[in-house]
């Protein structure tokens, strides 16, 4: 029997990193929870994979909020988010983890945190409208079902594009558990697919058909056939965990995807505001002569 104590220690480490406002480290430690969960017996993996999933989400959100605007309300966001994390991870040590409760907490957390990184103008104007999120999601799922052949072309970005739209709508209007589950499934499908797209791409731009057919299409079919009331949570969660494990296994095989963080790459080195000002002044002066 594999000892799950190291995973409880991972969780303690994540909480410690959040406590110090070190969201970047918390993010890495969340990845670590999921990686370590892979080593457990299959029957024990699920709660820890979900704890990692939740921690990674919190860390990513807080990093995004911390980088938004001039004076992000990061302390308020953190104070609002962390009790939910505690609520999710506490049952892990007592062995009372429950999937239904997990998703209920995740929904409450999402409702509380989604607006923090939004622009002030968005904050003032948009109101909660979960039915609209459902409509948008259904449209996008139908679109994916129609266009799924594009997944054989390594240049496509359909999963990223769908997530982009879904999360934009979710941030403005909120989402119910059904849509949150779909976003979770698509997120980890995209992470797994990103490896396949890169590793199994052929010189003509296509991707190894066999890989896409066996590792991606069954998940695409599952997600696009989501019933109106959503899948039973245990079934959807099992799929999500399968995708997380696949993603972690790809990480073992190929490590970090190159340029997986283009936002940082794009930012690169930034000149201090003062220097920018001086350059602008000098250029304006020279050109006005």
């Amino acid at each position: 029997m594999v000892d799950s104590k190291p995973l409880l220690q991972d969780i303690a480490a994540v909480k410690g990193a959040f406590g110090k406002d070190d969201f970047r480290t918390a993010h890495i430690l969340a990845n670590r929870i999921m990686s370590n969960a892979v080593f457990l017996e299959a029957s024990k993996q699920e709660p820890f994979l979900l704890a990692g999933f939740f921690s990674k989400d919190v860390a990513t959100e807080l990093m995004r909020i911390a980088a938004s605007g001039k004076v992000p309300p990061i302390s308020t966001a953190k104070t609002a988010a962390l009790p939910f994390l505690t609520e999710v991870v506490e049952p892990l040590s007592s062995g009372t983890f429950n999937i239904e409760t997990f998703w209920q907490i995740y929904e409450k957390y999402s409702d509380r945190i989604r607006k923090y990184g939004n622009l002030e103008i968005e904050d003032k104007v948009y109101t909660e409208n979960k039915p609209f999120m459902r409509e948008a999601t259904n449209w996008l799922l139908n679109y994916l079902a129609r266009e799924k052949q594009v997944l054989y072309d390594s240049r496509n970005a359909i999963l990223e594009g769908m997530l982009n739209e879904m999360i934009r709508v979710y941030r403005s209007h909120g989402a119910s558990i059904r849509e949150l589950v779909i976003v979770g499934l698509l997120t980890y499908l995209q992470r797994t697919y990103a490896y396949i797209r890169l590793v199994f791409a052929k010189p003509d731009g296509s991707i190894s058909e066999e890989k896409v057919k066996s590792e991606i299409m069954p998940h695409v079919d599952f997600i696009t056939s989501t019933p109106a009331e959503g899948y039973p949570l245990p079934e959807a969660t099992k799929k999500l965990c399968k995708l997380i494990v696949a993603w972690r296994e790809y990480f073992i095989r190929y490590l970090e995807l190159p340029q997986a963080s283009p936002a940082q790459m794009e930012r690169g080195v930034e000149l201090p505001e003062e220097t920018r000002k001086k350059i602008t002044e000098a250029i304006t002066k020279s050109l006005e002569k």
Binding site: I28, R64, T187, F251, Q259, S261, R276
Partner: protein, 279 residues
């Protein structure tokens, strides 16, 4: 033969000839972007030297012990500065390379040309990827493959901003309140106005919002924003106290206008809010 090298201002004057419609601001913005990009590329093209191997580091430490105290301290200081610089270089490389998205290891990896345990990326059916990703301009790579897409839903943030606010905390009661809807707009407005004020100042700040009961009438609760500032000048503290109090109340009044549903809550909160500065 060409004439002498043109001066900076001659080069600048030539730019509008290529695009006569561009404004000086636009030219300046392009040049700033170009400089930033060139600096990033230059930075990434530098390969930081490998840190000393454990054995030679140990030998160095033993040798250090034999030196007279004054020289020992001097050498140790120099070595520490060198190590710090090396650490910073690796961290910078690491962050510009866009790592830590899926990674579970906090230790920065070596660059590929040193003692890297990261294989040359990727192994792709025998077709090598164009170049090491850190040298690929993001914009160009977007045209060919989506690996460099900016994903607003998941893109990790840049390094934390430098800030004058060392801490902003809530006591347990406020933490519980923030878990439930209704108080976040208030708390956000409070935190943002405090941070805005602090960022414009020349000193460092710490804030804690607590709920206090009156010692004589326990049912009378008030919210106290405890403030500590890194300045010793008493008069300056009083001046900052006055100004921040004014700014926070103005901001809360604005929030009341922006969110009519919260008007009553904001009013009550403003009335029960006291700012207390560490003198």
């Amino acid at each position: 033969m060409s004439s002498a090298t043109p001066t900076k201002s001659e080069e600048l004057e030539r730019i509008p000839r290529h695009d006569p419609k561009s404004t000086p601001e636009r030219v300046a913005a392009s040049i700033v972007r170009y400089v930033e990009k060139a600096l990033t590329e230059a930075y990434l093209s530098v390969t930081p030297p490998s840190p000393a191997a454990p054995v030679s580091a140990k030998l160095q430490a033993l040798r250090l012990k034999r030196l007279p105290i004054s020289r020992r301290n001097q050498t140790r200081k120099r070595m520490e500065t060198h190590d710090k610089l090396l650490g910073d270089l690796y961290r910078m490389h690491y962050s510009l390379d866009g790592h830590a998205v899926s990674g579970s290891d906090i230790t920065p990896k070596r660059s590929p040309s040193t003692n890297s345990f990261i294989p040359s990326w990727p192994i792709q059916d025998g077709v090598p990827y164009q170049t090491w990703p850190s040298t690929i301009p993001t914009v160009d790579s977007l045209e060919t493959r989506p690996a460099g897409l900016k994903l607003p839903y998941s893109s990790p943030a840049s390094s934390p901003k430098t800030t004058r606010v060392l801490s902003f905390e809530y006591d347990d009661r406020w933490s519980t309140r923030l878990r439930d809807a209704g108080f976040d707009e208030l708390a956000k407005a409070l935190e943002q106005s405090a941070r805005e004020f602090a960022e414009k100042s020349q000193t460092f700040w710490g804030f804690t919002l607590v709920e206090e009961s009156d010692p004589e009438i326990p049912s009378w609760k008030r919210n106290v924003l405890r403030i500590s500032i890194d300045t010793l000048d008493f008069d300056e503290k009083i001046r900052l106290w006055d100004e921040i109090d004014k700014q926070i109340r103005e901001r809360l009044a604005m929030a009341a206008n922006d969110y009519p549903d919260l008007r009553q809550d904001v009013k009550q909160f403003s009335e029960s809010l006291f700012l207390k500065i560490d003198l």
